[in-house]
């Protein structure tokens, strides 16, 4: 007989081996050389934690007691894997793209990150999973006891073995489940160890099966005959139970926290699901292949009353196959430990993330100052949670006494966990599902499950027999196993039917009646349309797709052309010939800066973070937000434009009004000036003509003189009227120019003779006639008029003893410049600006003209494509006339 010490030694060596494997796998993973760790095979094997000790040992017992019903436990997951792989793919995609850490996190995340929901799911999971952990501890203890019975020295070990196993598993889970706080929550070490254990348990069960079929029975045909002869062959399976339990197993396969952990959280590549879709059902098939033969043979060869749950161990032992028994023990041990470790990890994540951390953050005061120590707190909370979960399982095991009640708890736990299903599936496929709906559905389902299945199943001590007999508060329709008067159903079928159907109904109705928050709506879209948004199965860094998304978003914010230009420039800068640049950090930073110009820094950061980080908000919804904000921006910019336009218009109106006022003032002033200029000579004319008319005895000389004055003033009037008309024509642009070719020198000659003829003290002129021999093409008469005015002004105003006018001519790049500088005192600086204005008169004494001469000069020069300006800083009064050599008159 194998001594207990050998058994313990084997166990310990096995555990050490697992430690080694887990450690090495972790090292490999962190070194980045973990390609084989991420193979579909490891993924498929890790899924086998579905097969716990309950299935390893219990399936045979189940078959021995209930015939083929045990197959339902394998059938559910098989149906899910084969028939609902697309649903699983969606679950995995959502889980990865949302960086979900547990099923509680997934539900909470889907329904607007509601922590209430997360807490509900966590509590449900703890209640559902704790008995399960107790079950594993029981199986290990029982298997120990089988060996202990044979070893008198070890009989005292039995009681404490559960404790040591629990402690050991806690250490393992803590060591490999909380080594680091990876954002992805992946634990390669644990997964690898679980995969190895999966192989061990499969080999163990197959070995026992082979031994039973070919070692004890006489081969396949003999085995089949034995089965036909046994009771198992004739037991009829209840249809309702069959369907219900198959469904429950399927639901549990999806909803169990540990399954979620290995299937979604630990998933490296969703393509692995494709392999697992056929490989895992194959694994389950192999696991179930020899269950019935072992059960039948066990029932035959073992004494009456042997525990069929332990046939896998006791059959080889009874045949003296100790090595096989040892292998079988290791298989059961593997089943139990892998389940406990992963379940403890999954539960601890939920407990620490959704219960411990919120409480701790609240206690820290709002959690606003989340700093570096959070990491250590999270790890610590996780470790404590693992220990607490295992302690809970251990105490449950101790309290329940390890009796038969425990064996039936597996299905009951399944039914509890299955209550998550409506919220989960609804959340994945129905955008209208709301937080309220999920909460109400979960609560209804949980309460019904508690009332109709868990409490009645826990024995008379928990629920009074009167309640079960007569219903709650004596209301017959509230009987736990005959709810609403429906009797005669199997308690399991009854409970699952009521709890899940009412759960689903409550979920749907409450969802329809409640209104989702914006975050829920966003998350709902992200979950339901996950395949529309996230990258394909190539992995999670679909860079070009991200660039496309960024492009689409940027177009809506920056405008199509600007965005395209920016992206092209960036792609070129990256040296890529592709249309889209790689989303490198540098590019993203520049894009963010670019966008923040339009939508603000925070929004730009969030938007890019959402697309690149792939978290929480879907691209579609982001685009909606972008659209909205673009509309808002456009609206506000339109408003701004409108208001700018209005203020421009107001400004223009003000300007126009000012101009009108000024024009009116100018008109007044002009009229006033005209009036003055006309009345002044008329005054003289009238006065002297009256004198001539009324005065007797005037001398001839006086008469002549007065008549001359009258004549002069009449001439002055005439000149004034001519000037006025001339100026009016020039100003209105009605003048028609008579452009001819001529020499500048002739023009100046003519001007001089006209201006100075009849002058008593004519100006001396200094000219360089040679320089003036420039051929010009312009209106020569008009130009002459300008020079006449300027020369006459010099003659009139130059107060020098020997008034001299210097005329110099330059040819400056196709233009003629004529400077006329006299040797008088010039025009004082404050008057220089106004000399070209109408009626401007610098000095009073020498008024002879109407003050329109320079104004006319200016107008003429403008028409001739040139100008006339006063030249300050010369020795006397100085004017510069410049004009083009040849006047192009397009208008003519």
């Amino acid at each position: 007989m194998t001594s207990l010490n050998v058994l313990v030694a084997v166990c310990l060596s096995y555990v050490v081996l697992l430690f080694g494997v887990a450690f090495a796998a972790d090292r490999l993973a962190s070194a980045g050389r973990s390609t084989w760790l991420r193979s579909p095979l490891v993924y498929t094997l890790s899924l086998s934690i579905y097969c716990t000790a309950w299935t390893f040992y219990g399936a045979v017992g189940y078959a021995a007691r209930s015939g083929l019903e045990f197959v339902t436990i394998y059938l559910g997951p098989t149906l899910v894997m084969i028939g609902w792989w697309w649903g699983l793919r969606k679950l995995v995609r959502v889980g990865r793209s949302q960086r979900v850490t547990s099923i509680a996190d997934l539900i909470s995340s889907r329904y607007g990150k509601s922590n209430t929901l997360a807490v509900c799911v966590t509590i449900l999971a703890v209640i559902g999973v704790t008995p399960y952990i107790a079950l594993q501890l029981q199986s290990i203890t029982l298997s120990f006891s089988i060996f202990a019975e044979a070893d008198p020295a070890g009989s005292h070990v039995e009681g404490s073995s559960a404790f040591w196993v629990a402690a050991g598993l806690a250490v393992f889970a803590i060591l490999f489940g909380t080594r680091n706080l990876d954002a992805n929550e992946r634990h390669h070490g644990v997964v690898t160890a679980v995969a190895i254990e999966a192989v061990v348990k499969l080999i163990a069960l197959l070995a026992v099966g082979v031994f039973v079929v070919w070692g004890i029975a006489g081969g396949v045909v003999d085995t089949l005959q034995r089965i036909d002869a046994s009771e198992i062959g004739v037991w009829q399976v209840d249809h309702g139970r069959w369907a219900t339990i198959t469904f429950l197993a399927a639901a549990a396969f999806v909803c169990l926290p540990r399954m979620f952990q290995v299937m979604v959280v630990e998933n490296d590549d969703e393509r692995h699901l494709r392999t697992a879709a056929w490989a895992f059902p194959l694994y389950l098939m192999l696991m179930s292949l020899f269950v019935v033969p072992i059960a039948v043979v066990g029932l035959e060869i073992l004494p009456e009353g042997s525990n069929p749950d332990l046939f896998v161990l006791t059959v080889p032992l009874a045949q003296g196959q100790e090595m096989l028994a040892m292998l079988s023990f290791l298989g059961g041990f593997s089943s139990a430990t892998s389940m406990v470790i992963v379940a403890a990890m999954a539960l601890s994540t939920m407990v620490s993330n959704h219960i411990v951390m919120p409480i701790w953050l609240n206690a820290k005061g709002g959690g606003a100052s989340v700093s570096g120590d959070v990491r250590s707190v999270v790890l610590y909370a996780r470790r404590v949670s693992i220990a607490a979960v295992l302690a809970l399982g251990y105490f449950y095991y101790r309290l329940s006494g390890g009796g038969a009640a425990l064996a039936s708890i597996g299905l009951i736990a399944f039914a509890g966990i299955a209550q998550i299903l409506p919220a989960l599936v609804g959340g994945l496929f129905w955008r209208g599902a709301t937080r309220t709906g999920a909460l109400v559905g979960l609560t209804v389902g949980f309460v019904l499950w508690l009332f109709t299945l868990l409490l009645p199943g826990m024995g008379a001590g928990v629920l009074a027999p009167s309640v079960i007999e007569q219903g709650l508060w004596g209301l017959s329709w509230l009987r736990p196993q005959a709810l609403f008067g429906i009797e005669g159903l199997d308690p399991m079928v009854h409970s699952v039917m009521w709890s899940l159907s009412l759960n689903s109904a409550a979920f749907c109705i409450a969802s329809l009646l409640s209104f989702p928050s914006p975050l829920e709506r966003l998350q709902g879209a992200q979950f339901v349309n996950v395949f529309d948004h996230s990258a394909g199965p190539r992995g999670w860094s679909g860079s070009v797709a991200q660039s496309e998304d960024l492009m689409i978003m940027s177009q809506r914010i920056m405008g199509a052309r600007e965005a395209q230009e920016f992206f092209q420039a960036e792609a070129k800068a990256q040296g890529s010939r592709a249309y889209f640049p790689e989303p490198t950090p540098a590019f993203l930073e520049r894009l963010e800066r670019e966008l923040s110009g339009s939508v603000g820094a925070a929004t730009a950061h969030a938007m890019i973070g959402q697309i690149v980080g792939g978290s929480s908000v879907s691209v579609e919804d982001l685009l909606a937000v972008a659209d909205e904000s673009a509309q808002l921006l456009e609206y506000s910019s339109r408003l701004e434009a409108k208001s700018a336009e209005l203020s421009r218009t107001a400004h223009k109106l003000r300007d126009a009004n000012e101009k009108l006022t000024q024009i009116s003032l100018q008109k007044d002033a002009f009229l006033s000036q005209i009036s003055h200029e006309l009345r002044t000579p008329m005054t003289s004319i009238r006065a002297f003509s009256e004198i001539l008319r009324d005065t007797d005895g005037l001398e001839v000389a006086e008469k002549t003189r007065y008549a001359a004055i009258i004549h002069d003033e009449a001439m002055r009037l005439t000149r004034l009227l001519n000037d006025l008309l001339d100026l009016s024509v020039l100003e209105n642009g009605q003048v028609s120019l008579n452009v001819t070719e001529g020499m500048l020198v002739d023009v100046i000659d003519r001007a001089i003779s006209t201006a100075l003829t009849g002058s008593a003290n004519p100006l001396k002129l200094r000219r360089n006639r040679a320089a003036e021999r420039i051929s010009i093409r312009t209106d020569l008469d008009r130009l002459t008029q300008v020079f006449i005015n300027l020369i006459a002004n010099a003659q009139k105003y130059c107060e020098s003893h020997e008034p001299t006018l210097t005329i110099s001519v330059h040819d400056v790049g196709g233009r003629v410049v004529v400077d006329l500088v006299d040797n008088g005192s010039g025009i004082p600086p404050h008057s220089q600006k106004m000399v070209f204005e109408k009626f401007a008169r610098v000095s009073a004494e020498k008024a002879g003209g109407a003050g329109l001469g320079l104004a006319i000069c200016r107008e003429i020069m403008q028409r001739l494509g040139g100008n006339v300006i006063y030249l300050p800083g010369q020795e006397g009064g100085a004017f510069r006339v410049s004009l083009p050599l040849g006047l192009e008159i397009a208008a003519q």
């Binding site: 006033s672 009036s675 003055h676 200029e677 009345r679 003289s684 004055i709």
Partner: protein, 126 residues
């Protein structure tokens, strides 16, 4: 001879016409063509009557009138104002400034003589 008139007028022909008229009427006529120092000139001239043009170089007739009315020695001096601008606004302004008589150019010689005589008679009575 007591009757003295000071004529502030920058237009030489008009000054000559008025001088001719008033001299023949027995006035002693002094002329001045600049507005800038007109107030000092008036104050120092001890004239019985001032004929003042509005548009003067240096200082406008309006300003000169206001200054005269501010001075004690010229406050009551009769001032006949002549303007070629002839807008009613100028007349209002002049009357506000305390002008004795306001006439628009071109005037008739008879009007000027009558105005000068009237103003002198009023001034003599008071």
């Amino acid at each position: 001879m007591g009757r003295r008139v000071l004529l502030i007028e920058d237009e030489p022909n008009i000054a000559e016409a008025i001088r001719f008229l008033l001299t023949r009427d027995g006035w002693h006529v002094e002329t001045h063509a600049d507005g800038a120092d007109a107030v000092e000139k008036i104050a120092g001239a001890s004239a019985d009557l001032i004929i003042l043009d509005v548009m003067l170089p240096g200082k406008s007739g309006m300003d000169i009138l206001r200054e005269l009315r501010d001075r004690d020695d010229t406050r009551d001096l009769p001032v006949l104002m002549l303007t070629a601008r002839g807008q009613s606004r100028d007349r209002d302004m002049a009357e506000k400034a305390g002008v004795s008589r306001f006439m628009t150019k071109p005037f008739s010689n008879a009007e000027v003589l009558t105005a000068v005589r009237d103003l002198h008679a009023q001034a003599s009575q008071t």
